[in-house]
């Protein structure tokens, strides 16, 4: 066996001082030789533990072996057999806590760059003519609510099984968080559009501007429109606020509002596009998840001179992907760890002038298992900022559940659904993704969509 390189082949990136001022993708992708080299690092383990770390059990050693032997078509096919959104997951999965965390190489060296290779294969796939076609063989129509990753994947799987599927999306464009949340510099919209193009080629119909629970009720889908089953993939898009004083000042917004104005509404093209967004010289983003990291790096790209993260715990409790954290550091983002926002201060005209904070220290683990932050008396200080962006979490939107009887939710407003099938408390109504789990990840949403598609197929087949 050849000697394996200890280090991961680094992903080529654009220079931080350049990329921090535009929306072009940060990662440039492996070259052919980089990919071949990295693929050679895989040990092709007898017991590939990496696969257990992947929520959808991608056949990792097999697809990487195909890359190593240059059989890209086989690699793409293997990848697609378990992951319906490889170009997206290769870019946004938290690999360091999933597949790569388990990789045997990690015991002594860096793990194999599974995510980078996944991206490489999927990007190759997009240079090939698409090989899908519509093959609708079933009579039962299925409705999917929400065009985020869970809904898109569920629809794709059902179409593959021959069902006519319609996706109803509340906004004017499909994609969910992949469209309005994750920015272009991390996930180019062209990739999302390509995936959506495949679905349409398979005969999936996408109807935008329809809010289920408002335009039509869930029961209408069965009774008036004649759907045989419904999948709910409405996400967890309702932003939370802190409830601190000054939160209603002009210049304070949720990360969802900030990112939606820019990504979905193309605020960076204002005034060519009509939706404005005002980004001041200094921007504070509260939180340290992927959303916070996206918001803080987006503010740099919108012209902020100083962009900072304010988080009440430490970098060890941060939930953002490692890669994004490193990229943020390279781009000059500042980090205030163990810092709790107390109050947003007015500049006298109703706009934000500063953020008053308090220093924290870490105590015993709390109910979430993470160390509980404890305020340090007398440590208050003030950071001058012109914008405060809140990225402190989201919960499921109540639009649908408020208008549907018999659809059970838990205390947090998440839909109650069977873990294996996604079946909700209503017969022939399935659910998955953030609407069930609360804010989670793309791959978990995609996996849930796929499992529900199979459960729908089973339920309808059993019914005859």
């Amino acid at each position: 066996m050849p000697v394996k390189r200890a280090e991961k082949t680094p992903m080529p990136v654009r220079a931080p001082q350049v990329r921090a001022h535009d929306f072009g993708e940060v990662n440039e992708g492996y070259t052919v030789s980089q990919a071949a080299f990295e693929a050679e690092r895989c040990l092709r383990c007898q017991d590939p533990v990496c696969v257990d770390g992947c929520p959808v059990n991608v056949p990792i050693p097999e697809f990487i072996h195909a890359v190593a032997t240059g059989d890209m078509a086989a690699a793409a096919k293997l990848l697609r057999s378990s992951n319906p959104l490889p170009a997206i997951c290769g870019r946004v999965c938290p690999q360091e806590s999933q597949c790569e965390a388990e990789c045997s190489m990690t015991l002594r060296f860096n793990p194999v760059a599974i995510g980078h290779l996944e991206r490489y294969v999927a990007d190759w796939e997009r240079t090939q003519p698409p090989s899908v076609e519509a093959n609708i063989t079933r009579a039962e129509k299925i409705a999917v609510i929400g065009a985020g990753p869970s809904g898109l994947v569920c629809a794709g799987e059902l179409a593959r099984h021959g069902y006519p599927v319609t996706i109803y999306e509340a906004l004017h464009a499909p994609g969910g968080v992949l469209r309005y949340g994750i920015p272009e510099f991390r996930l180019p919209k062209a990739i999302l559009d390509w995936e959506i193009g495949l679905l349409k080629a398979m005969g999936v119909e996408i109807v935008c501007n329809v809010i289920i629970g408002k335009t039509l009720t869930l029961d209408d889908l069965f009774n008036k429109m004649g759907y045989a089953a419904v999948f709910i993939g409405t996400g967890a898009g309702l932003p939370q606020f802190l409830g601190i004083s000054g939160e209603n000042l002009n210049g304070v917004m949720s990360a969802n509002e900030f990112l939606t104005r820019i990504n979905l509404m193309r605020g960076y093209e204002f005034p060519e596009a009509d939706t404005p967004v005002r980004v001041g010289k200094r921007v504070a983003v509260i939180g340290a998840g992927n959303t916070a990291m996206d918001a803080v790096r987006t503010s740099l790209r919108m012209g902020a001179e100083e962009a900072m993260i304010v988080y009440r715990r430490s970098d060890r409790e941060m939930s953002a992907r490692m890669e994004e954290y490193h990229h943020a550091i390279e781009e000059g983002v500042k980090f205030h760890w163990l810092t709790n926002p107390l109050e947003v201060i007015d500049d006298g005209t109703g706009w934000v002038a500063a953020l008053k904070c308090q220093q924290m220290k870490l105590g015993e683990p709390d109910s979430s298992g993470r160390a509980r932050p404890i305020p340090i008396e007398g440590s208050e200080f003030v950071i001058p900022v012109e914008n405060v962006v809140l990225a402190i979490g989201t919960t499921p939107n109540p639009l649908l559940t408020r208008t549907t009887s018999g659809l059970l939710t838990n205390k947090k407003g998440c839909l109650v659904a069977d873990e294996r099938t996604g079946l909700t408390s209503k017969s022939l109504v399935f659910a998955g993704g953030d609407a069930v789990t609360g804010a989670a990840t793309v791959i978990l949403a995609a996996g849930a969509g796929k499992r529900a598609a199979h459960a729908i197929h089973d339920a309808l087949t059993a019914r005859g």
């Binding site: 004017h172 809010i211 335009t215 409830g243 939160e247 509002e257 009509d274 639009l399």
Partner: protein, 282 residues
């Protein structure tokens, strides 16, 4: 894309539209709104549902030109299509039947009274519409509202039609016992300043009052929180929890300040549109 069936210029800056939107018409209720977008890269703007005809599958909207997007909407004519129309959004107005309902409309707000008066009259409520405008030629929809409500009162600042004075002055008289008598419910829809004045008028005499808040919105589906309004000390999302709230609980100071957040950018968009229109004309 929903097609415009009919348009009517109501005042130099206000236009009536009837559009083909059967799904929305089928589920619309008084007090709700739609989000529309008229071009790629365009803003999503909220517009109140003025009326609906479930059988014909049509919605009526009234749009007042205040900035770039509303100007673009008002340039559309019958036969044109609107790129995106989503709704009905927000909650509908839900008050117990059997009382005397007084709807107050200022500016484009009068439009929202159409379906409101029709539904409440039909279910047996006593209904009064009070319409306000600076002068007679800015008054809209008084004739359309007459067959839909028991009383229609018109107020103009300059006295060119009806009562001379503000809607709130006339409202105070009615609350004091002038015919048609003290209302059980007041619903005010119009400019924020007017809605705040109505809230102050009804606060003392304790008449239950709803106001239809119009904060800046982005998505209109509860996803951004940009539309939050301070109601009874709590942040409420107007697009999901509203748009109608208890007038006596709303913090109008904050709401009015928040609506001015983008004045500078709005002016820039408007200037740019004017500039583009001039270039086209030349």
């Amino acid at each position: 894309m929903p097609r415009i069936i009919e348009t009517r210029q109501l005042t130099p800056v206000t236009k009536f539209f009837r559009i083909d939107a059967p799904l929305i018409a089928a589920s619309a209720r008084p007090g709700q709104f739609v989000m529309l977008r008229v071009r790629e890269g365009g803003e999503r703007i909220p517009i109140t549902i003025a009326d609906y005809d479930r059988e014909a599958g049509t919605l009526s909207l009234v749009v007042q030109e205040v900035g770039a997007t509303t100007k673009r909407v008002c340039a559309l004519e019958a036969g044109d299509e609107i790129l995106d129309v989503a709704g009905p959004l927000g909650g509908h107005i839900d008050i117990p039947p059997g009382g005397h309902v007084c709807g107050i409309g200022g500016g484009f707000g009068s439009a929202a009274l159409l379906c409101l008066m029709r539904e409440f009259t039909a279910r047996g409520d006593r209904t009064t519409a009070i319409l306000g405008a600076r002068s007679k030629d800015l008054l809209i929809l008084a004739d359309e509202l007459r067959p839909l409500s028991h009383n229609v009162e018109v107020c103009t600042d300059d006295g060119s039609a009806g009562f001379k004075g503000f809607v709130t002055q006339r409202l105070a008289q009615i609350i004091d016992g002038d015919a048609p008598g003290r209302p059980d419910h007041v619903i005010a829809i119009g400019p924020m300043a007017m809605m705040r004045a109505v809230a102050e008028t009804t606060r003392g005499p304790k008449v239950k009052t709803l106001v239809s808040m119009d904060p800046l919105m982005v998505d209109g589906t509860g996803m951004c929180g940009g539309c939050r309004v301070n109601v009874g000390g709590k942040a409420k999302f107007a697009c999901v929890d509203g748009p109608c709230f208890d007038a006596h609980e709303v913090d109008f100071d904050v709401a009015m300040r928040r609506n001015k957040a983008y004045v500078r950018e709005e002016k820039r968009a408007l200037d740019r549109l004017a500039c583009m229109t001039n270039r086209e004309a030349r």
